[in-house]
Symmetry: C2
Subunit: 324 residues, 2 copies
Amino acid sequence: MHSIDELRDIFLQHLQNARFTSEPKNLYEPNNYFLGIGGKRLRPVLLLLSTEIFGGNVTDAMNAALAIEFFHNFTLIHDDVMDDAPLRRNFETIHQKYNLNTAILSGDVLMVKACEYLGKLDDKYFRTCFDIFTKTAIEVCDGQQYDIDFESKQNVTHVDYIEMIRLKTSVLLAASMKIGAIIGNANNEDADLMYEYAENLGIAFQIQDDILDCFGDEKLVGKQPGGDIIQNKKTLLLIEALERSKTNNDNQLTQIITDKHIENHQKINSVLKIFDQYKIKEFAVQQRNSYVEKSVKALAKINLDNTKKDVLKSLVDYLVVRDF
Amino acid sequence: MHSIDELRDIFLQHLQNARFTSEPKNLYEPNNYFLGIGGKRLRPVLLLLSTEIFGGNVTDAMNAALAIEFFHNFTLIHDDVMDDAPLRRNFETIHQKYNLNTAILSGDVLMVKACEYLGKLDDKYFRTCFDIFTKTAIEVCDGQQYDIDFESKQNVTHVDYIEMIRLKTSVLLAASMKIGAIIGNANNEDADLMYEYAENLGIAFQIQDDILDCFGDEKLVGKQPGGDIIQNKKTLLLIEALERSKTNNDNQLTQIITDKHIENHQKINSVLKIFDQYKIKEFAVQQRNSYVEKSVKALAKINLDNTKKDVLKSLVDYLVVRDF
């Protein structure tokens, strides 16, 4: 079995070989650019890992891994337009570097390319993987819409929020590991358990992201904490703090986040003080841990020997119980 | 066998039943709106016709017909954004009625829905239809990009133009009829011939559109002729007229189309005079007829009885040798 880093190297080699060379250049060059600006390649790497864990060969799973990475990048390209984001991973986004139409159409064709690569799978796996893929792709779009809706919606609960991040980010991770398991010839029950393991892991990962943005160590995380607070981003922490403030008829938090003249440093300090008052960090950690627990429970039920389960357990530590 | 009109009614009933009812509403309602504003439903209807012609049942082909219609509408929604078009079929386009983000994301999910409906096909046909679908979807994106590129490109030839319209519009018509044939249990050779028939028919149809915009009878076409001329739209006619002018070192046409102060009526008359001088209408009609001929030749080779071939022949008259 390969390590995560080795799988990433293998995947990157295949991604490089899959560079688009066809015409029209104005359609495909932007995708080559965007696929080249990096990223952790978490989804394809975990797909390949899942295949190997069940005794399969990464070569059989490579086209599925590429399909998932293409699909993921298609969503990023369009999300960047919707968020009007000029940068991703410190590189210009497509609509910024080229223009809006290029971002739309290059994204569209990348989605179709994802289908095309999925279509290269062996008949033995194709139909099952395709059904998982379409179901997941619809859920990812639903999640993105909920995320947009929540920006202007009042009274979003932490339950709504977790459902949104499940759809927007976790299901694709879960689908990747399930597809990997299927190509590794796992039985249906184990493939479903891999999905459950990864789905809960994905939610825990996202919650940890929210926690680190508030409470992370700048040196380890690589960015100043409080970015989400400054932008009033509706994270699990802010949503729960607003819920608890409401229950207590306390409008301090609302006042701070609607104050357009407040200085960033002061805003962060004031919000953190309220988070402290309502034990928001404890709440978020407890939520995160509950999803880690669900993930580990699913893992325990998978029919795999302990050496392999240990790899998946260490993945939980790597992705969630992290301070970076 | 059903008539075209009957097939359209059957399709519209199924399209109505396929209305999206799931959440989030802000994602699916715009698609219900857009799918409801009409259109000829040419692609799904011809797909169903093709199934019946080979002795198949429209029920087996319905999910493919819906998939094609969803895919086509996804391209229209995104094309409308790229063209910044406020209206389609006299109704507001999605980005106009809602906003840009809705047009992007609702379009995206409609593309995935197309995949989902295709995935409902019987295993017997699914893989083959899926491969045709992805190949075609990529070609449609390529065609749209060439169309965008041509707007700012000098020296587009009529050969480039025909290749662009083949990709942008004909291949989807051709794929629809091929998929229909496959679901009707046609053999591979006949399915390929149906593709060839429809591909050439589609090109002829598009050329006829260009001809009618210049030379059509206002009462029959339903709009004033010359719209393309006013907008300097690079149709087959303008492209060929520019080519012939260049060969003759004649810059009259370039002067007219770059004159920003010219009055519409005068512009139309002047351009038509040049078209007349260079026998552009004759050229376009000859081009159109050459694709009709290719279409009819492919039809002749299909293994079908004459009654059924007559239906397909009359379709050529209906779609191409028309004055409306």
